[in-house]
Amino acid sequence: MRLTDASVAIRPRGPWEALDLGVLLARRHAGLLLASWALVTVPIFALLCLLLWDYPGWAIFAFWWLKPAYERLPLHILARALFGDTPSLKQALKALPGLLRPQLLASLTWRRFSATRSFDLPVLQLEGLSGQARSQRLVVLGQRDAGAASWLTVVGMHLEMALWLGLVSLFYLLLPAQIELDWSWQSLANAAAGEWLWLEHLSNLLYVLVLIVWEPVYVACGFTLYLNRRTALEGWDIELVFRQLRQRLTGVAYALLLGCGLLLLQAPTPVMAAEIGSCPLPLEDPRGPEAARLLKQPLSSQAAQHSIEQLLDQPPFEHRETVTRWRFGEQEPAAEPSEEQLSGLLELLEKFFKLAEFWNSIDAVALFFEALLWAALLGLVALLGWRYRQWLGVFAGRLGLPQRTATPPSRQLFGLEVTPQSLPEDVAGTVEQLWAEQPRAALSLLYRALLSRLLDDYRLPLNSAHTESEVLRLVEDLEQSELSSFSQALTLHWQNLAYGHRLPPDELRQTLCQDWRRLFDDRVRT
């Protein structure tokens, strides 16, 4: 690889610019790339179609799955073309079996879904790294441009789908109307019959055609991204400048050297001491400074070397960093790939089973969390119910639930207890007893009892702001002459007593109590 031969300007670029360069590169070698790709993939597709004729879905899936294998050829072409050594179509196809060999299984299995596939491919194929070295290399390379590489894959997927859909639509649009109608009927009539398999194979073919255009571009973009990263890492551009400098100045340097030599020819005569004797020059040692020397000294060169190495291993000179990352099992040495990889695959399967067991154990945890969430939900509902219990009560009351209607109206009217419970059983009898010594208490009791009866039996809407005559008016609205005349008489005498401080006449006791018994006590008994 000679950087001076590179057919692109090597300089550090931004990731997007590098991708752009990839497109340009693919375009320059478009003919070769498309042809080689088509020559490889179309026969494979045809073969798959023949093998899986009844299962077009599986055919295209298998074809799609094998994509990493085809991608090696365009990369090979591009890598050689970059440094001016563009292979012919024949040469490229001949190189293909050799290209496929290294790590094909890994590429087609656990690395199949790598988002940075085209970016990683050159490490495998051009640098020939594998195993630990490869992953270290990828870590270094992926420090900067991995994001762009992932985006490249994502955009590529969408582009493939868009182009494929476009081609399918175009195909559909170009159908004559009559055929389309016929086709619709046919597909309706015998949808289950396998007569339309070729149509699906046709759409698969369209996908293959799309890939012919897109995949070389994809590989080229990944490749240029990789180049760009290496340019930045290894200072290729600087190296290139130095090389150019050397090329430009080689002749001048010789001339300068000659001039200097000529100048130095007129050197002064040698110093006298030189003639006497010279210490023997050290023998030309083939191993140079690394040879064991000073063996007879207390500190031999090897011991010194060793202590130097130890020192250099220690912190100020050595900076070690341990990076732990998840990656799929690549513990096996890559010396014998195929068998090791198979065993690795088996190991992986075992791990999968273990993972399934682990999921089983996780089920318990999930159950716990499910219970926790349900409990939280129930708690929340209970909390809301408690918080809005009054509102719920109103709502329930509006529905007319029985316990609401059953509650007796508890009242303290006019500063008086007027609930039936606060009154004696035999109101009239108590009044007669009280009349003699406490006429006010007697009349008050009678009036209170009247109000209580008006509230309970007649359901008059009395409140504490009603004056006596307002109560009287409400009683008259009931249009019960006996009740209203009794109420009138009682109210009159009650007012006389309460506000006029006039004692009621004695004979009133009899009439009032009789009226009371007649009006209310019968009702109680029935």
């Binding site: 008050s444 702001a465 004056t467 309460a498 506000y499």
Partner: protein, 344 residues
């Protein structure tokens, strides 16, 4: 119940209870009969405004002043004229106009050329019944001329305090809808009116009978008040006021009146509550109504009956309720429905 009593056997002059203070109960009975006769007489003149007539009589007996508010044509002025007709005392009328001066109300000193000295010329306020028609048409300074006479029953002219003849009563009218070019009465002035009455449109039956009577009368468009009998002398009215103020009043009822007035001060819908004058007016009004009812003592109903008229011009409605379109009367009615009436 009491309206069954006819005033016929009682001659007005004989009804004057002052010279014969034999029995307070008898006196009281006579006074209330007289008051009811007066009411009947007024009912003849003013058809369909019984509540307003009662309230005016209440103020008359209680010795307070009345502000009558109503749209034009409801007989505000007619009521006052009818009252003046039934009452044998002096009656004066001032039509309040924007250019009315305080001295036009109270009186002023004029130079007499013949006697060559200043003579006091008393204004129209020196009377028993004063009708201040459209009181809100005069500017505030003229309205304020009534302040002193209404509260203290005297007028200070040229540095001398002159008492107005007793009984003295101001009946002011105002029009609530026509506010262009009017001066709303200030709070101090309003507070001096014992009652503010609202005249509303009469019921259909009453309006029918009124129209029938008016169209039969000789004067074109108003009821003739000349056939009304004069029932009341000035001294009768004074005696009546005395009797009313002597009516027994239970502590509970007094407490009720004060509680009503105090409730307006903390009531949520009112930003300005009624002052102590309201409590006083409530009790005096209650006494007057008790006399008018023919009762021997004051009931809570008497207080409650005049509470609306006493309170409505002494409180101010909160702006929120005003915007909502609630009237003062509605808020006060809520208040009356919630303040507990006395019992026991």
């Amino acid at each position: 119940m009491m309206s069954e009593h006819t005033p016929e056997p009682l001659s007005p002059a004989a009804a004057a209870p002052a010279p014969a203070p034999s029995n307070p109960a008898q006196q009281r009975q006579r006074a209330s009969q007289l008051a009811q006769a007066l009411r009947q007489e007024l009912h003849k003149a003013l058809i369909g405004q019984n509540a307003v007539v009662d309230d005016v009589l209440t103020a008359l007996i209680a010795g307070g002043h009345v502000l009558i508010e109503g749209v034009p044509g409801l007989g505000k002025t007619l009521l006052v004229r009818a009252l003046a007709r039934c009452f044998a005392g002096e009656f004066a009328r001032i039509q309040f106009t924007p250019d009315l001066m305080p001295s036009d109300v109270t009186g002023h000193a004029v130079y007499d050329l013949q006697s060559e000295q200043f003579k006091l010329r008393k204004g129209p306020v020196f009377t028993n019944l004063l009708l201040a028609d459209e009181i809100n048409r005069a500017p505030a300074k003229t309205q304020a001329a009534l302040l002193e006479v209404m509260q203290e029953r005297q007028v200070t002219l040229e540095g001398r305090a002159l008492a107005v003849p007793l009984p003295f009563m101001v009946l002011a009218t105002q029009n609530p809808i026509e506010q262009e070019g009017t001066y709303p009465l200030p709070e101090a002035e309003l507070d001096r009116f014992m009652l503010k009455l609202r005249m509303d449109y009469p019921e259909q039956a009453e309006e029918l009978s009124m129209v029938r009577q008016v169209t039969r009368s000789t004067r074109a468009d108003m009821l003739d008040v000349s056939p009304l009998r004069t029932l009341l002398q000035a001294k009768d009215l004074l005696a009546m006021q005395k009797i009313a103020s002597d009516l027994p009043l239970d502590e509970q009822v007094l407490d009720y009146a004060v509680r009503l007035a105090r409730a307006t001060r903390t009531w949520p819908g009112l930003i300005l509550g009624a002052g102590p004058r309201a409590s006083i007016a409530l009790v005096r009004g209650g006494r007057a109504r008790a006399l008018l009812r023919g009762g021997d003592f004051v009931l809570p109903d008497d207080i409650k009956g005049c509470a609306l008229a006493v309170l409505r011009h002494r409180v101010r409605l909160a702006p929120e309720l005003d915007i909502e379109g609630l009237a003062v009367d509605q808020v006060l009615q809520q208040l009356l429905d919630q303040v507990a009436a006395p019992r026991l």
